[in-house]
């Protein structure tokens, strides 16, 4: 910070520049792959080119003889040592899952699965030798197409006998949270409206910027594991459980981590194998994946088919929603693979007052890369389905799509509101966010332009897309997680330490990988303890430092981890009180704490936190009546989620001659509750929008008929860049959450969850007069063009049928 930067009245609410950015942006920091240790050895993985095969023989002789090679290890070599990778979420008690070895022993279930590894003195030598490992495969038919896999047409894991991992359902009539959906649909068929649709959530790749990397040093008393992970605390526990190493002998460090988006919320085969390599050779080992490996094997996201039925009265009041979805697990269950659909299960009713709801989930294995959490995890899928449906409903009723939402949404005076899926929304104001968005967007003018373009038959049509979303976030309540079958908890931990020189160390159990926790947590503590922003240092990601924690995902860090930091700071203030009283020779009841200072009421006497910290450090004047330590720990487990919401409006221009879509303007008004740092919130929204728009327009992981990933490079897997996105107009309304002391909600996933349906709704809105009622994502020019052709064809047929 420069000396000229003004100090804000309160840190909370100030757009502080992120203190971590200088080192992150310049790369002058410790990324895992930068770590070099004496005697470091390098690993290269040999991966199956086939999606489904039996390994009949592996010849490692040539590789072992190659220059620089220390060892070549196959699955058979470590069959007794490698254990099985964990799934941490049984969505039903008898969930089926194949054993997941880190290295395949005799059966490979997806293209990219590891079948051998080379340990060599240099990375180049490891790569060269990996090419020399000769594996014989007997190819098996792969189960690739999700619907066929759900019917068990081809079995992904012959030992399992079926591809169906679990079937789960929620029914509002059975649960007592609403009526009977079938009855609602039946009634609507008679004079009301029934809309039936099938939506595809294509497979996506998290595509974080820093490929994953692991370094293991077995030469320290606690084996040190550096990993580019979102979840160092998980990794520590799972190394212990999977490999039988005492937890107390493991130290895991997530140094600076270059993005994750859920893609690094995993315990990986590569982590296990690097530990095994280091343990076997007694020397430090490093594995860094290539970009191609990262796209191919780091877990993928989404990949569902959703069959949806919406019932409504003729006036557009929704009477029931039924969803049947099948979700692709890929070849194995990762940490929370099986629960991704479940995390969306309570969100299909969105911001609306639906009287009846039914959801059925079928989790299915295929011979593709495993899937797991990806930004939004379950909630984007749910939001997409309901927001697409609300637009279809508006078209059927013949009213404006904003109007149809207003007829159905929860009004601000109705909070807290118990939803048809059994959640309790504590707060929100959909009217306010929508009114603001509508005005910023120039909604009425754009509708007028749209009419004009329609009338003139302009080859470039204008479409307006709406998404009024909410999400449950702040993944926490341990009791809720337990009741849903998750093995872990959802609490978070923090420690605040007063240093003798008046500086403060904050230890957080969350594990930032780009979000800016160091800045935001400093702001929280600076305000609470009355110390300078610069005097707060935030430590994280090292299990020797952040001893307890549950890491970063699910928009939980501020709402859970940040609140734990505040709780710890409050304890520090409490602990300082008797000490201040003793040193000031005052009664504790006569002390007030404000502006970082304990003062004796009605006098000028007082001590700052810095003075107290130094006095405690010296201990000279303490009489022993209070513990001579100001430091405090706090663990926090909230009672409930928080529910951010917002209104997103998107205008697109669709070139009907080529099918190309251009986003003309994008306005979003998000309500993420109280905001600690508006600039960070803005950044999260921008990145989230980019990722959600990417699902709507650009990204899709495609496998060929053999199960090989076709979109295995950034040449084919199209991540949009700045030139492909519009200038976003973002604004906020601020309805505080009631489930935490500051009133914050989450923002990490909001943009991603909301934007996808806004864009697709806009495209369909542009093309509806041309007979288009849906376009499958990503809405490539080719798909849009085909939809227009098909719409024209169907229109012509209908005309013919009528005449």
């Amino acid at each position: 910070m420069t000396a000229t930067e003004e100090r804000p009245a309160t840190e909370i609410g100030a757009s502080r520049r992120r203190k971590e950015d200088a080192r992150l942006i310049t790369g002058r920091t410790r990324w895992t792959d930068n770590i070099v240790l004496p005697g470091l050895q390098h690993l290269a993985m040999v991966r199956s080119p086939f999606a489904h095969a039996r390994i009949t023989a592996i010849d490692t002789e040539a590789a072992k003889a190659a220059s620089g090679v220390v060892a070549v290890i196959t699955g058979a070599d470590i069959a007794d040592e490698q254990g099985a990778l964990p799934n941490a979420w049984a969505v039903i008690p008898d969930q089926k899952a194949p054993v997941h070895p880190s290295m395949a022993v005799d059966h490979v279930a997806f293209a990219g699965e590891i079948v051998a590894m080379v340990i060599a003195r240099t990375a180049a030598e490891a790569n060269d030798a990996a090419d020399l490992v000769d594996v014989d495969y007997e190819e098996l038919e792969p189960a690739l197409e999700l619907k066929a896999a759900a019917r068990d047409e081809v079995i992904a894991h012959p030992d399992l006998g079926t591809n169906v991992s679990a079937v789960w359902s929620y029914d509002s009539a059975e649960s007592g949270t609403g009526g009977d959906v079938e009855a609602a649909i039946g009634a609507a068929r008679d004079g009301g409206i029934v809309i039936e649709k099938e939506f595809r959530q294509q497979r996506l790749i998290p595509a974080f910027m820093e490929p994953r990397s692991i370094v293991v040093d077995p030469t320290t008393e606690q084996m040190t594991v550096w990993s580019s992970t979102q979840v160092p605390h998980f990794v520590k526990i799972f190394i212990a459980l999977v490999l039988g190493i005492p937890e107390s002998k493991i130290r895991v460090i997530a140094p600076d981590v270059g993005g994750g988006f859920g893609g690094k919320l995993q315990f990986t085969p590569e982590e296990v194998l690097t530990v095994i390599a280091a343990r076997r050779t007694g020397k430090p080992c490093k594995y860094t994946e290539t970009r191609s490996e990262s796209l191919m094997v780091a877990h993928h996201g989404r990949d569902q088919w959703q069959q949806v039925t919406l019932a409504a009265n003729a006036d557009g009041t929704v009477t029931g929603l039924k969803v049947e979805l099948i979700a692709d697990m890929g070849a194995y269950l990762g940490l929370v693979t099986s629960a991704i659909p479940l995390l969306g299960a309570f969100m299909y009713n969105g911001i609306y007052k639906f009287p009846a709801y039914h959801l059925g989930i079928t989790n299915v294995f295929t011979n593709k890369t495993w899937t797991d959490a990806y930004r939004g995890a379950g909630r984007p899928e749910a939001t997409y389905a309901i927001e697409r449906l609300m637009d279809e409903l508006a078209a059927r009723v013949g009213v404006d799509a904003l109007e149809i939402r207003e007829r159905n949404w929860i009004k601000h005076e109705e909070f807290p509101f118990s939803t048809v899926s059994g959640l309790r929304y504590d707060s929100g104001n959909y009217e306010a966010a929508t009114a603001k968005a509508r005005q910023l967007f120039g909604y009425d003018d754009l509708r007028a332009e749209q009419r004009k373009r329609r009338e003139s038959g302009d080859p470039v049509q204008l479409g307006i897309g709406i998404s009024t979303f909410t999400e449950m976030c702040g993944l926490a309540p341990s009791r809720w997680l337990g009741s849903m079958g998750y093995v872990g908890g959802g609490w978070e931990h923090a420690a605040v330490r007063m240093l003798p020189t008046g500086k403060v160390e904050v230890v957080t159990g969350t594990s930032p990988h780009g979000q800016g926790h160091e800045t935001a947590w400093s702001q929280l503590v600076a305000d609470r303890l009355g110390v300078a922003f610069e005097d707060v240092e935030v430590l994280h990601g090292d299990t020797q430092v952040a001893v307890r924690g549950l890491d970063t995902y699910g928009s939980r860090s501020l709402a859970v981890g940040g609140m734990a930091v505040l709780a710890a700071a409050d304890k520090v203030i409490e602990k300082a009180k008797p000490i201040a009283a003793q040193l000031l020779e005052a009664n504790a009841d006569d002390l007030d704490f404000s502006g970082g200072r304990y003062g004796v009421r009605g006098t000028d006497a007082g001590m700052t936190m810095a003075e107290l910290a130094f006095a405690v450090f010296q201990g000279h004047k303490l009489d022993g009546s209070a513990e001579a330590c100001l430091d405090a720990d706090a663990t926090l487990d909230p009672d409930d989620f928080s529910f951010p919401h917002g209104t997103h409006l998107c205008a697109v221009e669709v070139d009907t001659e080529t099918g190309a879509t251009k986003i003309r303007s994008y306005v979003c008004v998000d309500d993420v509750g109280v905001v600690v740092n508006p600039m960070i919130v803005e950044g999260q929204v921008h990145g989230g929008l980019a990722q959600g728009i990417a699902q709507a327009l650009f990204e899709e992981a495609v496998h060929d008929e053999g199960g090989t990933l076709v979109t295995g490079s950034f040449d084919q897997y199209l991540v949009p860049g700045a030139p492909d996105l519009p200038a976003f107009e973002t604004a906020r309304t601020e309805t505080p959450a009631t489930t935490n002391q500051l009133g914050v909600k989450g923002v990490g996933e909001a943009g991603t969850i909301a934007s996808t349906p806004a864009v697709v709704n806009a495209i369909v809105d542009a093309l509806r007069p041309l007979g288009v009622t849906d376009v499958q994502m990503p809405c490539t020019p080719y798909r849009v063009w085909k939809a227009i052709q098909q719409g024209a064809q169907e229109g012509a047929q209908q005309k013919e049928a009528r005449s």
Partner: protein, 284 residues
């Protein structure tokens, strides 16, 4: 990934380079490396010898040679893009080059490398056929000149033999012509699904001459001769150009991939040709 090991040479003359290529059976020429380096790193290519031609001065730069421009094979895209001679006499090249990749790619990648690589979806091959460029190739028996129609032989395949080097490209001057390059892709950083390179010379309000090249409409770039013929003598109006452009896909054999099937590409070719020609006429 890390490329497989190779031996590296950095000759300073064309003859030295040709000698190295003859001497080594499994040798590959390295120009700007923007296509070859990824292939090496992915180990899709693993030549034993790399002959880096960066230090051959003769291959760099643009010069005026009377009725033609001569562009050295090793001239980087960024130089071509901003070269005043190119912009005056072959503006279509400046326009197309500006759409290649990003600034980093354009600083490293070369004019000759792109043409020698002959990716069906690349930008410059369509321009080269449209402009009737000719290619000077050096080999054991000296130098020969090959017209664009014979230079591109198929996907990643050109008239440059194994022991040969593309030295320079000669482009006739199109001074005063209007030009437009229409690149249709999904994100700014992507290869074209279809591209159209158009140049027209107007005589009053009507089209006196036209050149149209199509990218990614088959394994090799295509010169849309039917469109060119149909345009000559026509007014540069939307209707006339639309009619001529309707023939853009004649005789093409585009492929199918995630971005579109052959029918879609044929359709795109007609739409983009119309737009490119009209835009080119507008700048003439």
């Amino acid at each position: 990934m890390i490329p497989a090991a190779f031996e590296y040479f950095s000759p300073t003359s064309v003859d030295e380079a040709l000698g190295l290529l003859r001497e080594h059976d499994d040798a590959k020429v390295l120009a700007g490396g923007q296509s070859l380096m990824p292939a090496l790193r992915l180990r899709l290519a693993a030549p034993e010898v790399i002959v880096d031609i960066q230090k051959i001065d003769e291959l760099h730069g643009v010069r005026d040679d009377g009725d033609a421009l001569v562009i050295g094979a090793m001239t980087p895209h960024s130089t071509v893009q901003s070269d005043p001679l190119v912009s005056e006499h072959a503006r279509l090249i400046s326009l197309a080059t500006a759409t290649v990749g990003d600034p980093q790619v354009r600083h490293r990648g070369t004019f000759g490398g792109s043409l020698a690589h002959a990716d069906p979806a690349a930008d410059l091959p369509a321009v080269a056929v449209a402009l009737d460029a000719s290619f000077v190739i050096a080999g054991a028996d000296g130098r020969r000149t090959v017209p664009a129609t014979e230079f591109f032989q198929g996907m990643f395949s050109t008239a440059v033999g194994e022991d040969e080097l593309l030295v320079e490209v000669r482009v006739p001057k199109y001074t005063g012509w209007g030009a437009h390059y229409e690149k249709f892709n999904r994100v700014a950083q992507a290869w074209s699904i279809v591209s159209v390179a158009a140049a027209v010379r107007l005589d009053g309000d009507s089209i006196a001459e036209a050149r149209v090249g199509l990218g990614n409409m088959g394994p090799a770039p295509v010169r849309a001769t039917a469109v060119e013929a149909a345009l000559v003598g026509q007014p540069a109006t939307a209707e006339a150009v639309r009619e001529a452009a309707a023939r853009a896909a004649d005789g093409t054999s585009p492929g199918s991939d995630l971005n579109g099937d052959a029918d879609y590409r044929r359709h795109l070719a007609t739409v983009l040709t119309r737009r490119a020609v009209l835009a080119a006429a507008g700048t003439a």
